[in-house]
């Protein structure tokens, strides 16, 4: 097979399309599993992709109460940060710190999306986005522990370290669990998903429809793929370091996430933050093993 040059625009575009389609199918599988556990037939696996594409041909409505430039631009920013995170992570195996930065900007984007429309529901979602940002401690703790252990935050070096010394999960199991909780908190219908809570309709994205919602969903699909990839690469990089093994394991992790999401109710906002903090603090016990 003839490959485009690694790092070229075509190469990145093909990687992006692959990740988008695969991530979309994973989220469809996630919904299917939740439905099956709850005794419903559930939507077809391809539903999440159909749903995303559908928004691209729907009419774009912008509420009169919205701040129009922010309403549009912040959604583009949300997608752009995940595209950047995807290119830096799975494609180029670059610095993990850039992915963390992208994640932080993603939280800011969630806040901005909520504020931009002027709806009280989205504003409440936006406020919760800030509250949930305080729960992202595993995002700081886990990379710090990985750095202390491997003396690098460059993803290719972390993978090489694990190929030589074994997966970091064996050395930092509590950090891996804390990161898994973080991953869970970014999965749809999760117990910590206070920003999308149905008590506030759809949270910060209640007022976003049409192509702008499609762009948002594109970013979310890529985000799910990137977070799954980061979790597997950083803690299981010694075992899963080829695209096939990573993609198959992603399916397995999605099934586990589906079970958890189906069997746990949504937690109250403050409890959600507290539980994630507890896991982050538990992860600090791993400092003793470094």
């Amino acid at each position: 097979m003839i490959y485009p040059a690694a790092g070229s625009m075509l190469y990145m575009l093909l990687e992006l399309i692959t990740a988008f389609l695969f991530g979309g199918l994973l989220l469809g599988l996630h919904r299917k599993i939740i439905a099956r556990i709850q005794g419903r037939p559930g939507p077809p696996i391809v539903q999440h992709l159909i749903h995303t594409f559908k928004f691209y041909i729907k009419e774009l409505t912008i509420p009169e109460t919205s701040s129009m430039p922010l309403y549009v631009a912040i959604v583009l920013a949300l997608s752009a940060v995940w595209v950047l995170a995807f290119l830096v992570g799975p494609v180029l195996l670059g610095p993990f710190s850039i992915i963390i930065m992208c994640y932080a900007v993603h939280k800011v984007s969630e806040h901005g999306i909520g504020l931009a429309s002027g709806s009280p529901y989205t504003k409440m979602g936006s406020t919760r986005a800030v509250l949930s940002a305080t729960a992202e401690m595993p995002l700081i703790v886990a990379p710090a522990l990985v750095f202390f252990k491997t003396h690098t935050l460059v993803l290719s070096d972390i993978i090489n370290y694990q190929i030589l010394h074994g997966s970091l999960f064996m050395d930092l199991p509590l950090a891996a669990i804390a990161t898994f909780i973080l991953l869970l908190s970014k999965t749809p219908f999760n117990p910590f998903g206070i920003v999308w809570g149905k008590d506030i309709v759809s949270g910060y994205k209640t007022e976003h429809f049409g192509v702008i919602r499609g762009v948002m969903m594109f970013g979310e699909i890529l985000g799910f793929f990137v977070l799954l990839w980061c979790f597997l690469t950083i803690f299981f990089g010694g075992i899963f370091n080829t695209p096939l093994t990573i993609m198959l394991t992603m399916i397995g992790v999605t099934i586990i996430l589906g079970f958890i999401c189906a069997l746990t109710p949504m937690i109250a906002p403050y409890h959600s933050v507290m539980i994630q903090w507890i896991f982050a603090l538990l992860a600090l016990i791993n400092v003793l093993f470094i």
């Binding site: 097979m1 490959y3 690694a6 190469y11 093909l14 990687e15 399309i17 692959t18 990740a19 389609l21 695969f22 199918l25 439905a35 037939p41 559930g42 939507p43 077809p44 696996i45 391809v46 992709l49 159909i50 799975p90 080829t242 695209p243 096939l244 993609m247």
Partner: protein
């Protein structure tokens, strides 16, 4: 090795699920009552399971057809197709 090595697999599987969804709604417009194994989806699943060992993207197209069928339909057929693929893989590759 890049991820887009598996782009044909993913695209054909997705196309298969879309075709399966459309066709199964043509076959079954009634409320969901059917819990039997249907012959045509079963044959498609077995063809998919067989092809997946020979040329995976094409096998995934056929398997995607039964996976993507109208919610509630094609479940047993999918399981049988995957089991057939596993048995065939063990026979042809492992043994």
């Amino acid at each position: 090795m890049p991820y887009f090595d598996y782009l044909p697999h993913i695209v054909l599987f997705t196309v298969g699920t879309l075709i399966g969804l459309e066709v199964s709604y043509k076959w079954h417009s009634e409320p969901f009552v059917n819990k039997k194994i249907e012959p045509i989806p079963l044959i498609i699943a077995l063809i998919g399971g067989g092809l997946i060992v020979i040329y995976a993207p094409l096998g995934l197209l056929f398997l995607g057809f039964v996976v993507g069928m109208r919610p509630g339909y094609g479940v047993y057929e999918t399981v049988l197709g995957i089991l057939f693929a596993l048995i065939l893989w063990v026979i042809l590759v492992i043994i």
